[in-house]
Amino acid sequence: MTAITIENISKRYIINHRSDGRDALRHALEAAVRSPLVWLRERRQRASQATEEFWALRGVSFSVEQGDVVGVIGRNGAGKSTLLKILSRITQPTEGRIHLRGRVASLLEVGTGFHQDLTGRENIFLNGSILGMRHSEIREKLDEIVAFSEIEKFLDTPVKRYSSGMYVRLAFSVAAHLEPEILIVDEVLAVGDAQFQSKCLGKMQDVAKGGRTALFVSHNMASVEQLCNRAVLLNRGVVTATGPSRNVIAEYLQNTVSNTQSLISSVVQRSGTGALRLTSVHLEDPSGNPIDYAQSGKDVAVVLGYRCAEGETPRNVDVGISLHASDTTMLSVLYTSYMRRPFQDIPPVGTFRFKLAQLPLKEGQYLIGARVVASGDELDWPQEPVGRLDVISGDFYGTGVKGYEGAAPMLLNGECTVTAS
């Protein structure tokens, strides 16, 4: 049975370019009072001049079968959150129609309506009722909620005294105990510590197994892949792919290559003899498809295009790349010579392909630097980063756990054992 049918949904926002109180009452009143006719005439013109339409969603249609857990993915600004807001009736669509079959609960934020001055217990009741639970229903589940959140001892402490971890745990626990037929969730798993995250994932999986329908927006491809059987890809307000989540995620990672394909030729400041010049850089997945984003823990190739100067045949070529944080702090350097792989001869025009195994970087934006040396002579060294490495989160640990949230760019994988001594 179809649980959600979305037909041709569009949402238009009007953007005001002059933000200096266009909406202020003074403006509206003063103009109307001073010269009503001019005001009426100009009103229409102004509306078209100073404002611009922005379509957050355009003709979005898809349907969701009962029991499906659907991931909605796409870049920032693709319209994911707008879609969820329309589905949860927070805002109205400009066009189109949605048919929902079943009780809907939406969770666009963890702890909506929590009040700092109220105790944990009071907030459970408040938050529960805001999310649409009955008083009796909350009372029934109170013990379960408290147990899940692991805050028993602090139940009667105002939440403003909670650590942020406790706060989030309590908030998620209330939401997790909603039992709607259709659940709409926006990026709420990206909270709490690793242990609690895996607990939340488990709870979400129960939702899926319980035959309930869920719609789930996330930037975390690892959890989308793990939780969702299907996915919808949005790009600038338009659905560009739907299908099994694995395929849609692959599509997401591959689309719009042009963004990362950067032309190094335009970098003016560069040192070296110029016998060889680097010309381009882009990312590829292990099977050689150009990609836009690398994913933590997955193999990725950094591909550098080059061209030798007329008549030059550099020998014993050593190529290096460097990775930098977005503030250009150097994170790592890799030369072919470190791997005892300098190239004796190279074709006059070609590419160097650096394969990086299990990318140990956390999600974020990084920069790529490059340098080419031959027989000890520097051939080319662009003095600026030559490309960007955009990393999205992935299942680095192979456990579905996202790991540390703070600012720590490097990921380590290993083992830990315990022995008696």
Binding site: D23, A28, T91, Q92, I98, T112, L118, S129, I130, R134
Partner: protein, 272 residues
């Protein structure tokens, strides 16, 4: 099976049914506001007595002692307090419900529920303060050995009238405030003026006869007159045409308030 259709530009048919389903939320939001209001204060709930008490003292002094206004044979403090009760209720309800959508903007932009719940529960919160003050009036009357009249059985009707006057005006202000924050400055102004424009510190018989009808367009005139009639009894001559006009004004406020609120409600999340 619950079915729900969301369609562009169509006012939802199930709105009033939703309002019923979310009826517990009225209670919970009001409960939250009450719990929170006096946290980390020293005298706590007593504040809801101190404010009307001090205002009553000032008004008694100004109008009763210095102004020598007629009181119709009732101790002036009681006369003033009977007017203060509904006025204070209206004033707090109006300011609280007017601000309610903006102060709850985090809810508006993240969860669905009929938005009407928010300003309405603010009025309910103010009603609780009103009840506490009403208890104090009883004490005051005991002190002056003044027995209430039998008309008191009609008091609930006038409380209801005050309730809807506040809610109607509150709906307008709340909806307007979402777009025009100017009302944050207008409301305290209105409340301040209203205290003197409404017959709080004096009885409405001091208003010249030919102006009584116009004066009654202020819905609180009918409410306050009604309160005095109920509590103080026959000594207070009620100008019934005025009460009728006030009643009509309340109905007009309420109907237009709901209409405007419902009309703008859809865009709250986008504008707030």
């Amino acid at each position: 099976m619950n079915e729900l259709i969301i369609e562009a530009g169509r006012a939802e048919r199930q709105y009033w049914r939703d309002l019923w389903q979310y009826r517990e939320l009225f209670y919970f939001l009001a409960w939250r506001d009450l719990l929170v209001r006096y946290k980390q204060t020293v005298v706590g709930i007593a504040w809801s007595l101190i404010r009307p008490l001090l205002t009553m003292l000032v008004l008694t002094l100004v109008f009763g002692k210095f102004g020598k206004m007629p009181s119709g044979g009732v101790p002036y403090p009681i006369l003033v307090f009977c007017g203060m009760l509904p006025w204070q209720f209206f004033a707090t309800a109006l300011s609280e419900s007017g601000n309610s959508l903006v102060t709850n903007s985090n809810l508006i932009s993240k969860v669905y529920f009929p938005r009407l719940v928010v300003p309405a529960s603010s009025v309910i919160t103010s009603l609780v303060d009103f009840l506490i003050s009403a208890a104090f009036l009883a004490v005051l009357m005991g002190f002056y050995r003044f027995a209430p009249s039998g008309n008191i059985v009609f008091l609930p009707l006038f409380v209801l009238l005050a309730f809807f006057a506040s809610l109607g005006a509150g709906l307008w202000i709340a909806a307007l405030m979402v777009k025009y924050r100017d009302f944050r400055f207008i409301v305290p102004f209105v409340v301040q003026f209203g205290l003197y424009l409404s017959p709080v510190g004096f009885i409405s018989t001091v208003v010249p006869e030919e102006w009584r009808l116009v004066y009654s367009l202020n819905p609180m005139v009918g409410v306050i007159d009604g309160f005095r009639w109920c509590i103080l009894g026959g000594a207070q001559v009620v100008y019934w045409p005025g009460v009728a006009i006030s009643l009509l004004a309340v109905v007009a406020l309420m109907v237009s308030g709901i209409w405007y609120f419902r009309r703008t409600e859809r865009t709250f999340a986008d504008v707030i």
